[in-house]
């Protein structure tokens, strides 16, 4: 099947602007600025049903229409911080199919009448940043960016802003703080960025993959797009598959077209080294861990934004981390807890103190010094964080902990009883 986003898999040099143009590139943008009013673009994106690919799945067109009328300047910021463990889809887009993303940004900018858009890119992606800068220069040379674009009065600049290595700077308001040169800590919402965003101006923030979908909608029509995927999760989706599989990587498939079983065993070539599937983190470190042994049906649910909910999990940014039966779930929770402890921005009490506490408890249990009471305490501390934090990171940090205690409790108890980790004996 033809790739719609990972088109580099079909056309290897599509990162060159001539090649991209030859395959229809920038015709959507041309159509938007020449033939459509900004609001028509937004309406088309609304009709397409495109939902944000950054994790929360918020309808993109709806977000664009939240900007207060008559307040300028406005900004578009592409969120290219891609720091969720197990997520590497945006990177492939930016390095290998950058023009589709840039074109998406240009169309979105036009729709919201933004004249200066930014890409906030993860600091550890220097190569992707260079690819983008090159692509932007090419687009400027071709008159897709700059003043008087394609002979119209529309003007747009795109600036690449490199982050400095903080997961929290992927959270949209921390991202804005960071862009403004401040410490990367989330802001209280409301006000939402659509109203008070970058430099206190109305701002739309979208994920890279979200924006890369936009040219398709304009070029081939919102109705065409809406037919891809399911009724509530439209369009193609990139699944980042990693962990103990034979063929890790990015796989593109329409929403609702593949299951975890398809992804892991078919596309991913099954579990590495002939081992057995034990657990899945479908949304990176921020996941509720799935124990397929508890309910095999989870493997057959066709993946979309909502389909994992009945199984106590969620798809998020679709960073599917697969673990085999040699993996210890306490170790896994310890890993994610250390990750969140390290990445907590420290702004709010429950996350700052709670992630630190959970990490200490998991160190203890993992090392064999824990007690059975510690297991309950761990779950209790996690629940004490839940729902009280300033941004979702605090909640994220509890997901792998509470879900693993629930789904793999006997493994925790085994650590207490055997005074250590069975997997590392």
């Amino acid at each position: 099947m033809e790739h719609l986003i990972l088109r580099d898999l079909d056309i290897s040099d599509i990162d060159r602007i001539e090649v991209y143009e030859k395959h229809g590139g920038y015709s959507a943008f041309r159509k938007a600025v020449k033939e459509m009013a900004p609001d028509q673009v937004t309406d088309a994106v609304k009709v397409s049903g495109l939902r944000g690919r950054g994790g929360a799945g918020f309808p993109a067109g709806v977000k664009w229409s939240f900007l207060p009328k008559g307040v300028f300047p406005r900004y578009l910021v592409a969120n290219a911080d891609e720091s969720e463990p197990g997520t590497f889809k945006d990177r492939q887009i930016m390095e290998r199919n950058p023009h589709q993303f840039i074109e998406g940004m240009a169309i979105a900018s036009y729709a919201i009448q933004c004249h200066h858009a930014f890409i906030y890119i993860r600091g550890e992606f220097p190569h992707a940043a260079q690819c983008l800068e090159r692509a932007i220069a090419q687009a400027e040379a071709r008159g897709y960016l700059g003043e008087k674009i394609l002979g119209t009065d529309y003007a747009l600049r795109i600036t690449v802003h490199r982050g400095a290595g903080a997961y929290i700077c992927g959270e949209e308001t921390a991202l804005l703080e960071s862009m403004e040169g401040k410490l990367g800590q989330p802001r209280v919402k409301p006000p939402f960025p659509a109203v008070v965003g970058l430099y206190n101006k109305p701002t739309v923030i979208n994920n890279v993959e979200t924006l890369a979908n936009v040219p398709l909608i304009i070029e081939r029509g919102a109705d065409w797009y809406a037919k891809i995927g399911t009724a509530k999760s439209t369009g193609p989706k990139i699944f980042c598959l990693s962990g103990h599989v034979n063929r890790p990587g990015n796989y593109e498939a329409p929403f609702g077209s593949i299951s975890l079983r398809d992804l892991i065993f078919d596309l991913g070539g099954g579990i590495r080294g002939g081992k057995k599937l034990k657990a899945i983190l479908p949304a990176g470190a921020s996941s509720f861990v799935i124990n397929p042994a508890a309910n095999e049906a989870v493997l057959d649910a066709k993946l979309d934004f909502e389909s994992l909910t009945p199984f106590g999990s969620a798809l998020g940014s679709a960073s599917v981390i697969v673990m085999d039966d040699a993996t210890c779930m306490v170790w896994m929770a310890k890993k994610t807890s250390h990750f969140f402890e390290h990445e907590s921005c420290g702004k709010c009490t429950p996350c700052r103190e709670g992630t630190y506490w959970m990490a200490r408890l998991l160190d203890r249990i993992d090392s064999g010094a824990g007690t059975l009471a510690d297991i309950d305490l761990l779950a209790n501390v996690a629940n004490q964080i839940l729902g009280k934090t300033l941004c979702p990171l605090g909640d994220f940090s509890t997901a792998p902990v509470t879900s693993s205690v629930k789904a793999f409790r006997e493994e925790y108890e085994r650590h207490v009883k055997e005074r250590g980790c069975w997997a590392r004996k």
Binding site: V188, H342, G346, E353
Partner: protein, 905 residues
């Protein structure tokens, strides 16, 4: 106005009210750590989580009703922070549920996991929000193993005055927000992240702000402590006494915390009209002079050439007998110099002694002041209307801040004007001979040439008249001499004034329009304009004219505020410690000699046979020639005291009751907090004792016109300072009714402690500023306010042209530094590092011409003096001027406006 229901109590609050504030209105306390009513909410600590619901609406937008017919509530799925959530109409809030209690317990438990819990050795213990909220909402026991605690640095000097304990910090950011939002000195911030998030100072020198001490008060834990007070007492052992800062003319309200007869600490006391809940660091830390070991403890009398201890009777008898003798020959051979740091009671009696007993008008408080017109008359007539709040001027007020540098001279007024401009949108026009810190809040910042102040003002007046923007009705009915004034102004075109004062004509016109067209107009005029050499009279008259032709007087937010250099300059004027001004700002018939005239010149015979010097040190300014008989009354053996025949030890403001009148004419009461040092006595008592001795027995005839019936000793019997004020309140019309009882209204001890107040009351926190807007003290009304039919005369005063022959010599502009080399500051070790090294600031153009580089050593010559200083070359002073801060090492008694020569050493 939206109506909300909080724990079943309904309340209507203004739009934009936060839940936490609305709850206070119905008596529901929502615990907070990061929230502070004076700061922008950040929702960081999560202590204030509550259940919030809004009316459920159907598809049609109509509010749905529940089974009982009451509006159904759609509860938000998560708890919300009460400190960031704005109420909306119909909102329902629950704070008394198990879910909320659990959340509070959770947050306190989380905070305590990494808290060192060293309450027994923590300064904050006893007034600590973390302690209090732990008791009220926290878990009884810890589930967190102590060995897992996160450790961090416990003694981090955050500048000279503040110590940071990083383990105690709960990352609430109140300190950072205070510095950013209130002080506007961006010197604190967070570094790192997660559990390692920590407070750092971003400035060099560290914590470079004049307001750092306020962060101690608002820190909800003992993370920020005073390097002065630290570990020296438990707060419950400290007794609080309401007082008033004795340093600058703002008159910040303070609490003196006393223990063991010494000041342990000073914290602000709320006065919404003066200092809100803040002080500057000078007011907070510079108090060690009160118990300095070199305080005078007994009277001293010169015997065989040496000052020897004496009894009070011996010393007072000697003073009285010598005064009596000299007065017999010529009362006008006795002069009195009283510093404007003394209290109203002291100044009033000092003046009464001279005028009613001695019979001399040789009185002055302007020791070391180089000018004679301090705007006193203008303030009396056009003083800013009662009710003017410098911290709450809004967009309907234009304020011209003229020749002032509040950051260094009236620090809290800088804070308040900033608040007016930034928070309420007041239109500030800042004009000075240089760029001061205040300029950044001004819609217009204008730099004129020093010496041309009057031209700048005449330019403004002319621009108003040119454009016919004057208030014609007011002029027609209330102003006299307008036509003659206008005729005199004829040659002073805007262009000509502009050329002389170096402010562009368009800018003068623009400012003039704003002044004339603003509904309210206030002038704050400071030392640099007041001391404009040669032109002080022209400046004062021009300021008056600006108010008169625009009719901006007689109401709140209109009129003149004179920003004086000392804490009680206003009182000294009010009580007639002036050769020509009588008590209550009246005029005396027969002008006496001014300080300058009394002190004469070094090569002259002193014009006075006897001098009574109270609370000032004329000899420190040099050129002092001792008169035949010299009496000095002070806290310290000053340079003048060393020369005296009799030295009388006075009590500091901390040992006695009294009142000061601040620069806005607000009389404020301060109370004794310490036991007297040695045998020191209050100034008012000493004066009265001298007076009694002078009048006792002999009822001889006194020459001079002032003498009335006050020659009876009974008229000098005052049991207390309050009794002196009773006399003032009864006889001086400006101070009518300002008894201590009246001035004590709203003076509260906000923190009752054991042994003080009602011990069953909860200790409240310092400086929470509960937005009660407590205001105390009384402001006297200007003529323009009290007399609705008063007529005002426009008086022309020809300005003299600034000397601009060539750019050298340059004009000396004298600045002040908050921390200087003065006696009071020198006794507080902890602030010494904040006292700047002396320097001279030169404009880069002049510096280039003179071949002077930044940091170079230069020789500065003026008025027969030569001093060597380091040069600072920067953009704060305009060409043709140099700036030297007064009273640093070697820079005492600098004459404003002097011609100086500068050369490289």
């Amino acid at each position: 106005m939206p109506q909300v229901t909080i724990d079943n109590k309904k309340v209507e609050v203004p739009n934009g009210t936060l839940i936490v504030e609305a709850a206070k209105k119905v008596g529901v306390e929502i615990p907070v750590f990061c929230y502070h009513p004076k700061l922008q909410p950040v929702g960081m600590c999560r202590m204030c989580l509550v259940e919030v619901g809004t009316p459920k609406r159907g598809k049609d937008g109509q509010i749905e009703l529940d089974a009982n017919g009451a509006p159904a509530i759609a509860w938000m799925p998560k708890l919300q922070t009460a400190c960031t959530t704005v109420v909306s109409d119909g909102m329902t809030v629950r704070t008394d549920t198990a879910q909320v209690a659990d959340a509070r317990r959770a947050i306190v438990e989380f905070l305590l996991t990494s808290h060192p819990l060293d309450c027994p050795i923590c300064d904050k213990g006893g007034e600590c929000p973390l302690q209090n909220l732990t008791m009220a909402y926290g878990p009884g026991q810890s589930r967190f193993p102590v060995e897992s605690k996160f450790h961090n640095a416990k003694r981090v000097p955050l500048g000279d005055l503040i110590m940071l304990d990083r383990e105690r910090c709960i990352q609430c950011s109140r300190c950072v927000r205070f510095q950013d939002e209130i002080a506007d000195d961006h010197v604190l911030g967070f570094a790192a992240r997660g559990r390692g998030l920590e407070i750092v100072t971003l400035s060099d020198p560290p914590f470079d702000s004049k307001f750092s001490g306020n962060t101690i008060d608002i820190c909800p834990v003992g993370a920020l402590t005073s390097r002065d007070f630290r570990l020296s007492a438990r707060v419950w052992e400290v007794r609080d006494y309401p007082s008033v800062c004795a340093h600058c003319s703002v008159g910040c309200n303070i609490l003196i915390g006393e223990r063991d007869h010494a000041i342990k600490r000073i914290v602000p006391r709320e006065n919404a009209s003066v200092n809100e809940i803040w002080t500057c660091d000078k007011g907070r830390f510079v108090h060690h002079f009160t118990v300095a070991p070199d305080r005078l403890t007994t009277p001293l009398v010169r015997k065989n050439g040496n000052l020897e201890p004496a009894t009070w009777n011996e010393a007072l008898d000697l003073v009285a007998s010598r005064f009596k003798e000299i007065k017999w020959h010529d009362p006008n051979a006795i002069g009195g110099l009283a510093g404007d740091r003394a209290s109203n009671e002291d100044l009033y009696l000092f003046q009464k002694l001279f005028r009613q007993v001695i019979g001399s008008n040789n009185l002055d408080h302007r020791v070391g002041w180089s000018v004679t017109n301090t705007g006193a008359d203008s303030v009396r007539v056009y003083g800013a209307g009662v009710g003017t709040n410098l911290g709450a001027l809004d967009q309907n007020v234009t304020a011209l801040v003229f020749g002032a540098d509040p950051e260094e001279e009236q620090p809290v007024i800088r804070l308040r004007l900033k608040r007016s401009a930034r928070t309420f949108g007041a239109n500030l026009i800042v004009a000075n001979g240089r760029v001061t810190k205040l300029a950044k809040y001004a819609k217009q910042s204008l730099v004129y040439q020093y010496g041309a102040e009057a031209y700048f003002l005449l330019g403004l007046i002319r621009a108003i008249l040119d454009e016919r923007l004057e208030n014609r009705d007011f002029i027609a009915t209330r102003v006299q001499n307008f036509d003659a004034f206008a005729t005199s102004l004829e040659p002073y075109t805007v262009e000509r004034c502009a050329e002389i004062c170096h402010v562009k004509p368009e800018k003068i016109r623009d400012a003039a329009r704003q002044i004339a067209q603003s509904p309210n107009f206030l002038i704050l005029y400071g030392r640099e304009a007041m001391f404009a050499q040669q032109n002080d009279v022209a400046v004062a008259r021009a300021l008056a004219a600006l108010l008169l032709i625009t009719g901006h007087l007689g109401r709140a937010n209109n009129g003149l505020v004179a920003l004086y250099p000392h804490n009680n300059s206003t009182g000294a004027i009010d009580f007639g410690v002036l050769p020509d001004g009588g008590v209550g700002r009246t005029r005396v018939e027969r002008r006496g000699l001014s300080a300058r005239e009394m002190l004469g010149r070094s090569n002259e015979r002193p014009s006075m046979r006897a001098l009574y010097v109270m609370a000032c040190d004329p000899a420190a300014d040099g050129n002092f020639v001792k008169p035949e008989f010299l009496v000095v009354q002070d806290l310290f053996l000053t340079e003048t005291a060393r020369l005296a025949d009799v030295v009388l030890p006075a009590q500091s403001f901390a040992e006695r009751d009294g009142t000061f009148t601040n620069t806005e004419r607000r009389a404020q009461l301060f109370r004794a907090a310490l036991k007297p040092i040695g045998e020191a006595k209050p100034d008012w008592w000493i004066i009265a004792e001298i007076a009694k001795r002078l009048v006792s027995g002999l009822q001889f005839q006194v020459s001079g016109s002032q003498v009335s019936g006050n020659l009876k000793p009974e008229t000098w019997n005052y049991a207390t300072a309050s009794a002196v004020m009773d006399e003032i309140a009864a006889t001086v019309s400006l101070y009518k009714g300002m008894t201590y009882a009246a001035l004590a209204e709203n003076v509260k001890l906000p923190r009752p402690r054991s042994g003080q107040g009602n011990p069953s009351e909860q200790p409240t926190e310092i400086a929470m500023g509960e937005l009660e807007n407590i205001s105390s003290g009384k402001v006297w009304a200007s003529v323009a306010e009290s007399d609705a039919r008063a007529k005002f005369e426009l008086v022309w005063s020809e300005p003299s042209r600034p000397l601009t022959a060539d750019s050298r010599p340059l004009t000396l502009a004298v600045a002040r530094s908050l921390y200087d080399g003065g006696t009071l500051v020198s006794k507080t070790q902890i602030v010494q590092a904040r006292v700047p090294a002396p320097f001279v600031e030169i404009n880069s153009q002049d510096a280039e011409q003179l071949g002077i580089a930044d940091g170079a050593r230069v020789r500065v010559s003026f008025d027969m003096r030569v001093i060597e200083l380091d040069a600072r070359v920067d953009g704060h002073v305009p060409p043709d001027a140099v700036l030297i801060p007064n009273n640093l090492d070697g820079t005492a008694a600098l004459p404003m406006g002097a011609r100086v020569k500068i050369e490289k050493v």
